[in-house]
Symmetry: C2
Subunit: 408 residues, 2 copies
Amino acid sequence: MEKHQNGEDSEQLDPSICGYDSLHHLLKDNLKPHHFQEVNRLLTGLNCGKVLETIALPQSATALSAEHGFDLQAFCFHADKEVLREPRIVRVGLVQNSIALPTTAHFVDQKKAIFEKLKPIIDAAGSSGVNILCLQEAWMMPFAFCTREKKWCEFAEPVDGESTKFLQSFAVKYNMVIISSILERDMNHGDVIWNTAVVIGNHGNIIGIHRKNHIPRVGDFNESTYYMEGNTGHPVFETAFGKIAINICYGRHHPLNWLTFGLNGAEIVFNPSATVGELSEPMWPIEARNAAIANSYFVASINRVGTETFPNPFTSGDGKPAHADFGHFYGSSYISAPDASCTPSLSRNRDGLLVTDMDLNLCRQYKDKWGFRMTARYELYAETLARYLKPGFEPQVIRDPLLHKSSS
Amino acid sequence: MEKHQNGEDSEQLDPSICGYDSLHHLLKDNLKPHHFQEVNRLLTGLNCGKVLETIALPQSATALSAEHGFDLQAFCFHADKEVLREPRIVRVGLVQNSIALPTTAHFVDQKKAIFEKLKPIIDAAGSSGVNILCLQEAWMMPFAFCTREKKWCEFAEPVDGESTKFLQSFAVKYNMVIISSILERDMNHGDVIWNTAVVIGNHGNIIGIHRKNHIPRVGDFNESTYYMEGNTGHPVFETAFGKIAINICYGRHHPLNWLTFGLNGAEIVFNPSATVGELSEPMWPIEARNAAIANSYFVASINRVGTETFPNPFTSGDGKPAHADFGHFYGSSYISAPDASCTPSLSRNRDGLLVTDMDLNLCRQYKDKWGFRMTARYELYAETLARYLKPGFEPQVIRDPLLHKSSS
């Protein structure tokens, strides 16, 4: 098990965090095979005798994984053969990582060290033939927003800044679309800061950006200290490898956000995140899978890894003493499919690369099978939402006329 | 293990269905305690050291469970103590059951046999002090809609029909709100049929009805042969024990349906269902929990049990030979809380009663904690949905301008 990069030994952490690598391994290593098979069927949605195949990756990729100690897993989702359409198989890569230097190091060194750390992981993705690669939220910096200190704003970059340039070279080298979630500085609009995903095309060009739609104000995640709700709508990016969208972090709690990317035609929605165990871990295996089911598309969930310690202790508005970190980023990146199945998750503790093949034809096949769009009655909800927004909105409540009897 | 009431021995079924009673028991019986504890934390969302307590039920209830062989489990969700509000603890009961006679029996006998089968389960709920009891979808008949035969329409009843009268006596006897999901015959509107939940107040009065909003056309569930989309909106029923709503079966796949019950103020949403393993089991543990998280309310999920065989074989539109049943109703009723935790599920194979205490204060506490309503940007989505509905809707797509290069 790797050492945490901020100087902590993993042995010092809660043993419940470090005693196993992932839920999948915990179950597989401790259940009899036929029990594991049935548990796995229920948990990963592999119904009707379906099997989630693993992919053999090239030796160059597995060697990088072994040398640099990052988790590397690869799976394949199938779709039915169609008569009138060829399969549209896309290989997706997800990267999760801890930071590379203590948060007290010089900012330039911190960012450069993250670049260096990511290079072999991105090389492994490229040499594995990944078509679309997505990094975690604000991958180019520590997730410092818990501190409410403005000095971390220095990490912000323009859309075409050094982090984008760093990734553009890989996009060209490997003919790979790359989604890069950064802290953006919009210099043309008064230097304001945004939480932004930059979509880099497979020729290295910037196709466009999406700014995080929903901003948390929960626990240590009071990110509205730094940036406001995004103003870029719900764009779907038509790339060489499919129609993709990005639902950044806290936006995964909002079903309407997922819905709207679907209405705009997304076939894969990426959810680059940064979230910690004590806050959100029970929700992590639920929300992305629900979005994939409800919207008949693939969802790719990425979470950062490790514990980040900051120089000045901060409080969390929970009456507890000030502290210098806000918990364990539990990794566990995974992919959900429209048929309700999902891959196992990457490690809870280590950097990792998840490679997954998916036939995008599965999306329309599941629209046809379940008919969720056809049966959605959007007109009912458009009318309801419009009515709800009015100050005089009265909820549809049917009160038991005998209610006063109960309180007598 | 009970015999299936339609004459099949459970031994004849797929062993993967019958080899264990529930996922919870499969894991608990086969993992070491400390492994089970961690797996259970991840799967049931018991974070931050939370424990889901069991409740001791009166001997009268456990005796009925033992005598009649139905699963009986009881749990308790806690909320934080508030300064200005007293706890609002409600005891909820969910009933899952198989049918009681073969589908070839006289219809009068079939219905009466179900009544007789339910009596001890409802008595167990009443003597356990349940405040709100909910039965499964169309509990008073076999789920015959797969056949597309119209003779089953004879089971339909007016809102104040015999099934309602049967339950009204229990409502009065036990001071219990009862939600009864029936096949409704609307004699005042041309004898049309609806899939309807009747809400019976704790004084035995009929508070109101809700008609299923979304009707499936999937696999054997082509229910639109019998009834259309409901015309009763998204009512929330203000009962003596809290504000409740009913999202019937297939409506659980529609996040907007869940959302709207929440906008109207529901604190518990019941999801009476009838769904089979091969079709929906991977979705079952996902959608209800997601709805509870996203809308900061409790969700009570109920599914019927057993395999129902019909006299005339029918096809499923899947190219396979005609068959006389449409799979195993897998029970697994459970309750989800707004904090992302959930109870274990009832048996996959046996009738059951799940009793659960919940402090409704948890709903607003989680609205305050996570702020999903505050950060929801409903105005954005009202506008988008209205635009989407127009025939000329153009999705927000940003196309890679270099896309033609890729195909060359």
